[in-house]
């Protein structure tokens, strides 16, 4: 455990040493301001619009941080053989993977702490100054929902990137498949959901129906925005569905990490 902790703190420090990470964190801190300016610029000084921008920005920054910071770090470890430094006895391959993952997860937690602070600032201002008809269903929980959902969805993506790193041969391959994973995770589930419609599936061979359902099961649902959207429209949050959504992502992270550990333990470096 001590070695995992040491590697995690080292990885966090290494990531924080990257200029792109500091720029991303600054962007996260300035996001509420950007949301404010955006809504003012279009004469839509609606709090809902500001929080929509916060939500989209949070999801985007989580993905960007993984692609521009974690992927190069793992790419250098695998392709540049940097992992040779970390993987000699007494450090095991499992300790290395978990240490690196936790270091990157710490960075994501920092990002979402910044985003949470930004969202809550926006909400505080909105509740203080916005007219009652523009407050919609917004309260302090909305900020937690924005940062929290963005956080666990990004953790899922992070775990997928680690799974890819377990078998990728270098940076280029890791980046390519990570971008592909991002695209698949965001685009495919709604398409597959639509395809599962019984009306559409009528007349389609059974094996294709099974394939569509199977692929839909393989991909995580990156659609937590629906909970925020409901809240912004004054609807009550369905906490049971939210919990199930979170558990689905937690399960996905665990499966990806387990697969990563199993593959990484057996590969030549």
């Amino acid at each position: 455990m001590t070695r995992i902790r040491n590697l995690a703190l080292y990885s966090f420090r290494e990531l924080m040493g990257m200029l792109v990470v500091r720029i991303t964190l600054t962007a996260a801190a300035l996001l509420p301001l950007a949301a404010w300016i955006f809504s003012e610029f279009f004469l839509m000084e609606l709090t809902k619009v500001q929080l929509d921008v916060m939500t989209a920005g949070s999801y985007l920054l989580g993905m960007v941080l993984i692609l521009i910071a974690v992927v190069p770090m793992l790419g250098a470890d695998i392709g540049g053989r940097l992992c040779y430094f970390y993987l000699v006895p007494p450090v095991s391959r499992n300790e290395y993977v978990l240490g690196r993952f936790l270091g990157a997860a710490l960075l994501l937690l920092l990002l979402f702490a910044v985003l949470l602070a930004g969202s809550e600032t926006l909400i505080t201002v909105a509740l203080e100054y916005a007219p009652a008809d523009r407050r919609h269903g917004i309260d302090w929980e909305t900020g937690l929902l924005i940062a929290g959902t963005a956080c666990y969805q990004s953790m899922t993506l992070l775990a997928a990137v680690f799974f890819i790193a377990a078998w990728a041969t270098g940076f280029a391959e890791l980046l390519l498949f990570s971008i592909a994973a991002c695209a698949l995770f965001w685009i495919m589930p709604p398409v597959l959901e639509a395809m599962k419609n019984p009306f559409l599936m009528e007349g389609v061979p059974a094996w294709i129906v099974a394939l569509v359902h199977g692929i839909a099961w393989l991909l995580p649902e990156m659609n937590a925005g629906q909970f925020i959207l409901a809240e912004l429209h004054g609807q009550a949050t369905d906490y049971t569905m939210l919990l199930l959504h979170f558990l689905g992502h937690l399960g996905y992270v665990l499966i990806m990490l387990m697969a990563c550990l199993l593959i990484f333990a057996r590969r030549d470096l």
Binding site: T2, R3, N6, L7, Y10, R13, E14, L15, G17, M18, A76, G80, R81, L82, Y84, F85, Y86, L87, V88, P89, P90, V91, R266, D268, L269
Partner: protein, 225 residues
């Protein structure tokens, strides 16, 4: 006491046999050199000993739980300072991170370079950082793959002296190098590897030019076959 003992190591890739049953021992207070032309199997041997590459057959017994390793032509982590990088090695080996400065100074890295990002250092200075990482915390088994790469003449001499000191203190050293005089100066025996096999073992007794000439001749003879 053998810190590292391996027997009959074989490595087959899909279309290539890289190692054909290699035996190797490194005892405490002993330095063993690996010599061979490019592609002979030296680096593969080291990677198998450290578990970085899976062996196809044979056995490896590492009696020492802590190993200091300097990889060949290593890229370095760029966004961290030498101090923090070496501190990780120390923490992993159960030592205090505060010893990092001393470990870096031992390899000749100046105080002014310790808190700059590694990406800002020259190739030679990076090599010193990598060496400090391998030697930090005084591991009992030290494995070095081309440790003199990128070092200037003074750096090479200082590194040799440092490694001799570690050997005298009881550390076992396995070193792979193309620089024959360095191997002669430091090691007690040199294994000449060719096409994945140990072809000859040389004991280094006098550590003089005669042994350099003898090794270079043997290397030429095997490489021409």
């Amino acid at each position: 006491m053998a810190l590292l003992h391996c027997q009959g190591i074989k490595k087959h890739y899909r279309h290539k046999h890289a190692l054909h049953g290699l035996d190797l021992d490194v005892k405490a207070g002993e330095a063993v050199g690996l010599l061979g032309i490019n592609g002979a199997g030296k680096s593969t041997t080291i990677k198998i000993l450290l578990g970085l590459v899976r062996k196809s057959a044979g056995s490896v017994a590492l009696e020492e739980s802590q190993v200091g390793f300097l990889p060949e032509l290593a890229r370095m982590p760029e966004h961290i300072t030498p101090r923090n990088f070496v501190a990780l090695a120390l923490r992993i080996r159960g030592k205090k991170a505060s010893e990092a400065d001393a470990a870096l100074a031992e390899t000749g890295l100046g105080e002014e370079h310790m808190s700059r990002h590694i990406r800002l250092l020259s190739k030679g200075l990076r090599q010193r950082v990598a060496l400090a990482y391998a030697l930090a915390g005084s591991p009992r088994l030290i494995v070095l793959d081309e440790p003199m790469s990128g070092l200037d003449a003074i750096g090479r001499i200082a590194t040799l002296e440092l490694l001799k000191k570690r050997k005298m203190a009881g550390a076992g050293i396995l070193i792979c190098s193309h620089i024959v005089p360095d191997l002669v100066r430091l090691t007690d025996k040199v294994l000449l590897i060719h096409q994945g096999e140990v072809k000859q073992t040389f004991s280094m007794a006098s550590h003089d030019m005669d042994e350099v000439v003898m090794l270079e001749q043997a290397l030429r003879d095997w490489s021409s076959q």
